[in-house]
């Protein structure tokens, strides 16, 4: 992923224009950041309790976004494909977890029990396997054949795949919102200093952080992680070193899908509702998170997810309100693309020349 850009010789008068432009963009970025900071501070002073409660909700959603964003970033890092079907995979994860918990185990009453925790863990493993398997199958059936095609082709295929998964969701669940599923997580909330924190938020964070650590361990410490990084850098060289490129790419899709499955389970347990077109929205927000952190960068995806979650939560709590959340998220995306296309933690990859 780290190609160095060819040095470009810039003529002197062009250089001054470039410098001016750079200053202008920096100034604009600083202004925007100052505005955001001002908004945050004033809304905090206005109603600190509401502000902190919204932040907690945002943090909880942000960890889910981080899980989904990791799937995007892993796949993008390795084959430079925006996997549009990933959000819909997450949606299938919510449906599957509902199936396991409500239909197979027949949980009829919300609330945490010892049995409930066991069921939760079983569902976690089941969902991760289910979504990982689907993701691997999608790669095997469609993307693998297009690995050497121009970029537009796999991207459009991914959009088509997303439609197929939407159809599966529609067939499975109908077009109405499904909300009669029970949760096995502890209900209720605590109010330290008047700030509302749901118990579920702790569970989500306590489940997500180990998953993220595990992921980071796999990619940075293990042999297969090393192979993944090698494939991401140069497929041919990796092949020459004896790495089975196809297997490694499949493994990457498995990891990404498993994280989406985990996110699906937690979403279903925390929010409790799902719909066939849920994935579109969530997928886009998660992808924005991945871009925000610097696509291809694992830490960046987590950071971006949490940040986007916070921004979205604060916007819905003390900002413009829920009906504008898409605008806020995509507005951030567009601004980011203008001012810092590499994301917060990404390095400049440059166009391959």
């Amino acid at each position: 992923m780290t190609q160095t850009t060819a040095p470009v010789r810039i003529v002197a008068h062009q250089r001054s224009a470039v410098v001016i432009r750079k200053y202008l963009t920096t100034a604009a970025a600083v202004l925007i950041l100052l505005g955001v900071a001002w908004w945050l501070v004033t809304s905090f002073i206005n109603d600190p309790k509401l502000f902190l409660s919204s932040a907690v909700v945002g943090l909880q959603n942000g960890t889910l976004f981080a899980l989904i964003a990791l799937g995007y970033t892993l796949v993008y890092g390795i084959i430079e494909l925006i996997n549009f079907a990933h959000g819909d995979l997450f949606m299938l994860g919510t449906l599957f977890s509902g199936l396991i918990i409500s239909s197979i185990f027949g949980v009829v009453k919300s609330g945490a029990t010892v049995g409930g925790w066991v069921i939760f863990l079983v569902a976690l493993v089941g969902c991760m396997a289910f979504c990982g398997g689907i993701n691997v199958a999608i790669e095997f059936v469609a993307y693998r054949r297009l690995r050497k095609a121009p970029k537009l082709a796999p991207l459009i295929t991914a959009v088509g795949m997303s439609f197929v998964l939407l159809f599966v969701g529609l067939l499975w669940n109908g077009s109405a919102q499904k909300s009669d599923w029970r949760s096995v997580l502890p209900q209720g909330a605590m109010y330290p200093g008047g700030v509302r924190i749901e118990y579920k938020a702790f569970v989500v964070i306590a489940m997500t952080v180990p998953l993220l650590l595990l992921m980071s361990w796999i990619v940075t410490q293990t042999r297969v992680g090393k192979a993944m990084r090698a494939v991401a850098q140069d497929q041919d060289a990796a092949r020459l070193m004896g790495i089975d490129v196809n297997r490694i790419i499949s493994f990457t899709f498995l990891l990404g899908g498993a994280l989406a499955g985990a996110a699906g389970l937690m979403y279903q347990q925390v929010i409790g509702t799902t719909r066939y077109d849920l994935g579109f929205n969530f997928g886009l927000i998660a992808f924005t998170a991945a871009v925000l952190g610097g696509i291809g960068n694992l830490t960046g995806a987590v950071l971006g997810g949490v940040l986007i979650g916070l921004i979205k939560g604060l916007n819905e709590g003390v900002g413009l309100g829920q009906q504008w959340s898409q605008t806020v998220v995509f507005g951030i995306l567009i601004l980011l693309m203008v001012f810092r296309p590499t994301g917060l933690l990404g390095q400049s990859t440059g166009e391959k020349v």
């Binding site: 050497k148 970029k151 537009l152 439609f163 871009v291 605008t327």
Partner: protein, 494 residues
């Protein structure tokens, strides 16, 4: 792979009618439009002239309303084709321009600004009734929508066109969603009502155009909501304008610059093509077509409603462009008409027919067996050829539809499955579309030079410029017998 490029000389026209190759498609379009017009004119005003069988068949399968809608889709798809097909920039939020065009019509030709009283050759009805609002003739509204959309295209394009293609896709998608949300929440935008929110702006003025009185004689006047035939003529004219513009602009300096950028950005910029300006102009041009389609749609439904401007329309438009053949104007037009018709008439009618006749199980069984047959035939008969995966890929969705029809208790809509499958199958097996353009075919069969180098040394032998290409039929329409030789991708990956 034993494919040798077999260059077949262009066969002379069989029936001896010698039409210039460049005129065949336009004449075909015109003929189809005239036939549809004459049929519906007779059907409406001289009903006994049409046999009952024909009347019933056409009324079921080819009503005029969906044809009008298909023409609007064709205009928008042609606009998207300029961006995606000509310039090679993926735009996933194209419906935004459609929405902006529609709302321009809503602002400039309706009673929305009821405090104002501005008229300029608006519809006669509003003049007689002395209703308030801005009422401007539809031709000026079209111009205004085009300008506004071009401006919007430049505004969204200027900061983002420097990005890499997949980022660009995402940003345009986000732009589409933002525009939707702005119009949806527009009844309270900083305290102002700019779009009436989710109620939309309705009614939009009727256009002043020629129409028919009860006896079928021509008159000039307000085209009411139910004068579908007059609207058909109006839409045909608009589509013809967009078609003509996209055909001609492709041959000019700008169009060739777009193609150059699509094929190799670096080489194009080295040859002196100003990248940003050229890309921006493709955005602006596509946006203008989208805006025209927006105005046409506002005329079509006599109103503007934000719910019509969701992401799925953008994807539908993209599917039209991909199905027809990216870059080929006529292919895109036909792809748009086919998909729009399938979406609005074909699928719902077929499904309701099957449900009404109570033969869901039978049809489901037949489809499932046919699909299974395709899969088995693919696997058994053509195991080693390219056809095997194609048959399987077609067979699986057919089987699924059959099984679902057979087993499902409630009605399931198959739109998502069919559109998704179309996109995937086209991308896997016929990337250049149903009616490919020769240049696009070469571009899409093989990765670009930079991509080929990035992929590695094993791709060096693919050099599209070494391919022999017959000089005729390079432009729109002709199918060029170039052997499909780039099987490398599939073979390697398996």
């Amino acid at each position: 792979m034993s494919d040798i490029a077999t260059v077949v000389p262009p066969t002379p026209s069989r029936r001896g009618v010698n039409i210039k190759p460049g005129l065949r498609w336009p004449l075909g379009f015109l003929t189809a439009a005239v036939i549809i017009f004459l049929y519906y004119y007779l059907d409406t005003y001289f009903r006994p002239a049409i046999p009952d069988v024909l009347h019933n068949f056409v009324a079921t399968w080819l009503p005029l309303l969906p044809i009008n809608e298909a023409l609007i889709y064709a205009m928008a798809a042609l606009g998207l084709n300029v961006v995606v097909g000509y310039a090679g920039l993926l735009d996933l939020g194209f419906v935004a321009f459609w929405a902006i065009g529609g709302y321009t019509a809503g602002w400039l030709a309706s009673g929305f600004f009821f405090n104002q009283d501005i008229r300029f050759f608006g519809s006669a009805f509003t003049l007689n009734q002395a209703t308030g609002g801005v009422h401007i003739t539809v031709w000026l509204v079209l111009v205004a929508a085009g300008l506004l959309c071009a401006l919007a295209g430049v505004i969204i394009g200027a900061p983002t066109l420097r990005l890499r293609s997949d980022y660009l896709a995402l940003v345009t998608l986000g732009f589409g969603e933002i525009i939707y949300e702005v119009f949806y929440n527009g009844d309270n935008l900083f305290g102002q009502n700019v779009s009436n929110g989710n109620r939309g702006i309705s009614p939009v003025d009727s256009i002043r155009f020629f129409k028919f009185d009860n006896t079928g004689a021509f008159t000039w006047g307000d085209v009411g909501p139910f004068d579908v035939l007059s609207k058909f003529v109006f839409f045909v004219i608009l589509t013809a304008i967009v078609l003509f513009a996209s055909l001609r602009i492709r041959e000019g300096r700008l169009g060739r610059a777009w193609l150059a950028i699509r094929e190799d950005e670096l080489a194009a910029s080295m040859m002196g093509v100003p990248l940003m300006r050229t890309k921006l102009s493709s955005y602006a041009f596509g946006a203008v077509a989208g805006g025209i389609a927006g105005v046409a749609f506002a005329v079509h439904v006599s109103g503007v409603f934000p719910d019509r401007f969701r992401f799925d329309i953008s994807i539908l438009l993209l599917a039209m462009v991909v199905l027809g053949g990216m870059g080929n104007v006529w292919g895109v037009t036909i792809g748009a008409i086919i998909l729009a018709w399938t979406n609005s008439t074909g699928l719902p009618k077929a499904q309701s027919l099957i449900t009404d006749s109570g033969s869901k199980e039978e049809v489901g069984t037949i489809l499932a067996l046919a699909g299974l047959g395709l899969i088995i035939a693919g696997v058994v008969l053509f195991l080693r050829r390219r056809t095997a995966p194609l048959l399987t890929f077609i067979g699986v969705p057919v089987t699924v539809i059959g099984v679902v029809l057979f087993a499902a208790k409630r009605d399931v809509s198959f739109q998502f499955l069919i559109f998704g499958a179309v996109l995937i199958i086209m991308m896997l097996f016929r990337r250049e579309g149903l009616i490919p353009e020769a240049r696009t075919r070469l571009v899409l069969r093989e990765p670009g030079r930079t991509e080929a180098e990035a992929l590695g040394a094993d791709m060096v032998d693919l050099a599209p410029e070494l391919e022999r290409l017959p000089d005729e039929n390079v432009h729109a329409g002709g199918s060029v017998p170039v052997a499909p030789r780039a099987l490398t991708g599939e073979e390697e990956a398996r």
